[in-house]
Each structure stands twice: as structure tokens, then as C-alpha cells.
Symmetry: C2
DNA sequence: TGCCGTTATGCTAAGGCTGAGTATAACGGT
DNA sequence: ACCGTTATACTCAGCCTTAGCATAACGGCA
């Protein structure tokens, strides 16, 4: 993944077969000593991208997950990784390209208030809740409340996977209809592009993990250029977490945690008063147990 | 894993070949629909244990990790899971048994102040730091400080894996000497039992994840009986996290978060004034975004 | 040149939460 | 009745967070 101050991005590989997008993936060869080595060398070979921070996410191995495109019998194991890239303009990208990740999960972007996508989903989701018998109804209502927080207004930016899985269960995403040849998907699906296989689930996993991580580890700086303004940093955090932050408090936080240091330069490119350019202060890694850009408690931008 | 108020436990399977302990493991068969299904049915079959909370931890796949016991060529993939069990007395345990996890990682238990094991490790670790050239020295010193916090006294209960890996790199654990047939391990190794293959690394991963998780999800109740006293709960949390907590504040936290509710009963089994028996309050799962037993900031018990 | 819009940055009051400690209650045993 | 022990209630000071207000420094324009 990569990011600009206004857009979080994921590297996409269009699949030829079924016109749907997918995540980059490659085989595990015995020439690679570790899994991470395999990942890095494979990506660099394919896209000439230099991966920065890399973290294993989850291993997907349901028996029938490759149904339809099956080249293997039994379990096809996919070990998903989250990889961050600073420079968002790869030199060799024959098939791959960057794309705003909210194209796939539009209900996750609360920067401009309640997402339109969510307003579209909401009634269908409520109908799904009502469709169950009393005990099931209760259960479903609680899950919807826990993940989307429609009633209480308690949006939790990290529950990305839980929300996607709920939509899947409620048959609101096209992926849920793939294996049912007997029925047709209803007109009222959730907005957002589907992906190949379970790749949208992987994307949701990655986003959730990244949103959680930036709060206690300075991984955000893996996505920033060498020097940047505090507003750039804030905008990037907002892009990833999908929520808006209080400007003054954000700066105080970043500075009091000692996450950045002055470069001595300023930029007038921001419009108003020139902004200082700062850079990541490596030393925090030693000083503090869990440095990161803490976000305020889960809240809506506009209630 | 399971726990009593004074002991966190891990299920151990003694390996016959080399007299070392190992974690339970089994093959992934094509009859299992999902990975979790495979795990549950395999464990229940082997030990008659009913697994409660289950969470995928990490997939280990370094090419040479099964070196020596290799039955496979190339990568042997092991998908490690964290599984919690409430009832710590399985009915059918031919080879498996429960064991205090601090037998394997004794430096992780700070409940009685600075662990003896750490005092033994400390000088050897310092010697390792000094052994490098200036840049390497600096790097090593920072890593030791970050993970063990010897100088600053900042112990972070979650960095279990990082600490184990540091000891591995510093060749302070027997596992690091296995593949070096040319040299003999020194007398001054870290206390703590080694395990088969990379199982101790897996154990460290599991403990770290569990310690982190109890702070924002009520997983601790997966390890408690149906009803319990607040002190039992506190002792169990202390056992898992390896640190001691302030009693009054712990109760305030648990009650104000609405994590428990009264059963109406009391027990005199505690010695002094009878204690109320409480049970987990399921409803918090819906009410709160991230309920859990928050621990105080990383601190030493005795400075 | 002086005003205006815009962004950057500094600062503070109010409220909530945390860490730490004091005080009181209720049991069993002597 | 007293003592040791554990349970439980309550308080207080310091710290952190939230939400604002206030001021600074640019470019553009009348």
C-alpha cells in the first residue's frame, strides 16, 4: 500500500479472466529462504517497487476458496502480507496500478461525514436484521450495532474486516453470490467494486491492521516522504483511518511524543502561512515503548 | 492455553525423539472445510478438549525451519493458532499435559519483582552488546533497551516475541546452537526450557498476542469459570500479563467498564471477608467498542 | 500599501481518567 | 472480644484529552 495526503492506495492487478481486480500475488518458491524474502523479491521483480515495512497478515486456507479457478485440489494456502511503499510511482508496472482503496470499501471513508455508501447500505442491512426470527434477529441486530454502530454513532475505524464480513453474510456484496448459481443477486447490493476470490477480504484485513497499527507504531512514516509538513502528516493519517482529526491536538500529540524533528526548512506551497518541514525522528523507537499517532476515541465526524 | 489465578498454562506434547517439549500440532487434511475446523476437530480428537476462543497467530515458513527432522523438501508451512480453554483438566491426555508457560520463558514473569532469570541473563546480554564494533554496539544496545528496558526500567509486557528473538540472536538460547555443529554452546545460557523446532518462538508469539488482546477484548473471560471473584479475575490477569496490578483500581476499572455482573452469591473460600461472586456480562460486547482489562502503563513492580 | 483569505502555530480552561492511598466492613480463628 | 485477613468504598492530586480561542505569516488583490 501507499498513500498521498488525500488518498490511501492499494496496488491492483487486473485479472484477465473475469474482469475483476485482484491483489498482487505470487508463488512461494524453494529458492527463497524466508516467506518475507519471497514476497520482497517477487514484488521487486514484478513491479520494481521497493517495499518498506512488511508484516504478515493472515493465512487464508478455506478448502473451497479457489473454487471455480481451482488449479489445486484440497486447500490452497495464501499467506497475505501488508507491505508499505513510500514512493507511489513504480517504474515498471505492466499490469499493476495504484488505486484508492475506498473504491473497494467506500463505506470506510468518513472524512466527508457519513459516507454515501453507508446510507445506501443502511436500509438493506436493517431489512436483513428484521428478516430473522426473534433470537436470530437479536443476534443480527447486535452484530450490526457492534460493527457499524448505526444507532449509537460509535464508529470504530479498525473493524474493517468485521464490517466486510457482515456485508458478506448479509449477501450485500457480489462475492457472496458467486457460488450460488441457483439465485440471482438482488439489485440492492453495497456500493464498491468487488475483487477476485477473497481478495477484498484480504484488503479489509490489511486496512484494519494498518489503522490499528498507526496508533501504536510509527508506521505512518513509512508512507511519508523524507520531509513533510504536519498537515501532510495529518491528512495522510486521516486518509488511512478514514476519519477527520482535530488539528491542534494532532500537532500537540505528534510533537509531544517526539515523533518528528525540524529540518529547518519551510514551504510556502501550502497556501497560507508557510509551514515548517519536519522529518521522522528515528530515536523515538528507542525512547518510547509504543510510539504512534494515537487517534481520539471512536467518534463520528458529523453526528 | 488455559490459566488458574496463579498459573498461566500451555498444553505440551513431549517429543520422543529428542527429549524436548513441543506444542500440539497436526496435519491439515482435505476433509476439513476451514483451517479453524481442522484445528478444533484435531485437538478434540487428540485431547478431548473443547477449545473456546481461537485466533490465528502466524504462519511459519522459513525454508530450513524443519532442518534435521525434515520430512519435506522446500518450505514446511506451520500455521500457528492461539486457542483458549476454560476447563484446564482434559479427560483424555495420553501424551499431552499442561505446564506453566514461565517454565519456558521465565524472564517474562514479573509478579514477584524482577525475575531471577533476568538477573542471570543481564550480564551476558551486556557482554553481547559490548562485543560488537561501534555501530553494531549502538544498534544492539538500543535493541536490548527497547525490548528488556534494563536501564530505563520500562518493561513492556507485550514484547515477548521480540525478547525471545533477541536472546536467540545473542545465542543465549539452546535453539540458536542447534544448527551449529562446529561450536559448543557456552555455559551461560538463559534459564528456561527449550522446545522442539521453533515452538518456543510460537509460544512467545502466542503470549505476546494474548497479553495485548486482554487489554481491548474481554478474552480473559474465556479462561475463567462461570462465576468468580474479582480477585480471581485480577490474579488471572496478573498471571497472563506477568505483572502485578493495583487492586482497588483494577476493580474500579472492571466495574466501570461493565465487564461483570453480580450472581448474588458470595464465597467465604477466600479467607477474610466473603467475596461476591460475579460473572461475565455478555452485553458489553455490544455496548463498548473495545472492552478489555486495560493494564496500567508499562512499569516495573519494584524499581 | 493595506486588507483579506488562508494556513500555521501557540495557548488554555474544563472535564475525565489514572495512580495511589486511606478508611471501613465482614469473615474465621483464638 | 480481639486479631489477622480479605473485600469494598471513597478520596484526592496529577495528567491527559477535548474543544476552543487567539495570534502569526504568507499571497493575492483592491
Amino acid at each position: 500500500m501507499s498513500a498521498t495526503p488525500d488518498q490511501p492506495r492499494v496496488l491492483i492487478v487486473p485479472a484477465k479472466q473475469n474482469l475483476q481486480d485482484g491483489l498482487p500475488s505470487g508463488p512461494l518458491l524453494s529458492e527463497h529462504r524466508t516467506l518475507e524474502t519471497a514476497l520482497r523479491s517477487w514484488v521487486e521483480q514484478q513491479t520494481a517497487l521497493k517495499l518498506g515495512y512488511v508484516e504478515q497478515l493472515y493465512t487464508f486456507g478455506d478448502r473451497d476458496r479457489t473454487k471455480g479457478r481451482a488449479r489445486v485440489k484440497g486447500h490452497a494456502l495464501s499467506i497475505a502480507y501488508l507491505a508499505l511503499v513510500r514512493d507511489a510511482s513504480p517504474s515498471r508496472m505492466d499490469r499493476a496500478h495504484w488505486r484508492d482503496w475506498y473504491a473497494y470499501l467506500p463505506w470506510e471513508d468518513w472524512r466527508e461525514g457519513t459516507p454515501k455508501a453507508l446510507k445506501i447500505i443502511e436500509p438493506t442491512l436493517k431489512a436483513w436484521v428484521r428478516a430473522g426470527g426473534p433470537p436470530l434477529k437479536q443476534f443480527r441486530a447486535e452484530r450490526v450495532e457492534m460493527t457499524f454502530g448505526l444507532a449509537s454513532g460509535a464508529w470504530s475505524d479498525e473493524r474493517v474486516l468485521e464490517r466486510y464480513e457482515l456485508l458478506f453474510e448479509a449477501s450485500l456484496v457480489p462475492e457472496a453470490w458467486r457460488e450460488r448459481s441457483d439465485e440471482k443477486a438482488p439489485a440492492r447490493l453495497a456500493p464498491g467494486l468487488p475483487m477476485v476470490l477473497d481478495h477484498r477480504r484480504m484488503l479489509a484485513t490489511a486496512i484494519g491492521r494498518l489503522r490499528a497499527k498507526i496508533k501504536y507504531r510509527p508506521v505512518i512514516f513509512e508512507l511519508m516522504p523524507a520531509s513533510f509538513t504536519l498537515l501532510d502528516l495529518q491528512k495522510t493519517v486521516e486518509a488511512l483511518s478514514g476519519i477527520r482529526l482535530h488539528k491542534q491536538n494532532f500537532r500537540r500529540l505528534v510533537e509531544s511524543e517526539g515523533l518528528v524533528e525540524e529540518t529547518g526548512e519551510v514551504t510556502t506551497a501550502t497556501g497560507g502561512r508557510p509551514a515548517r518541514l519536519v522529518r521522522f525522528r528515528q530515536k523515538v523507537l528507542v525512547e518510547r515503548p509504543a510510539p504512534g499517532v494515537r487517534l481520539p476515541g471512536s467518534k463520528r465526524v458529523s453526528p
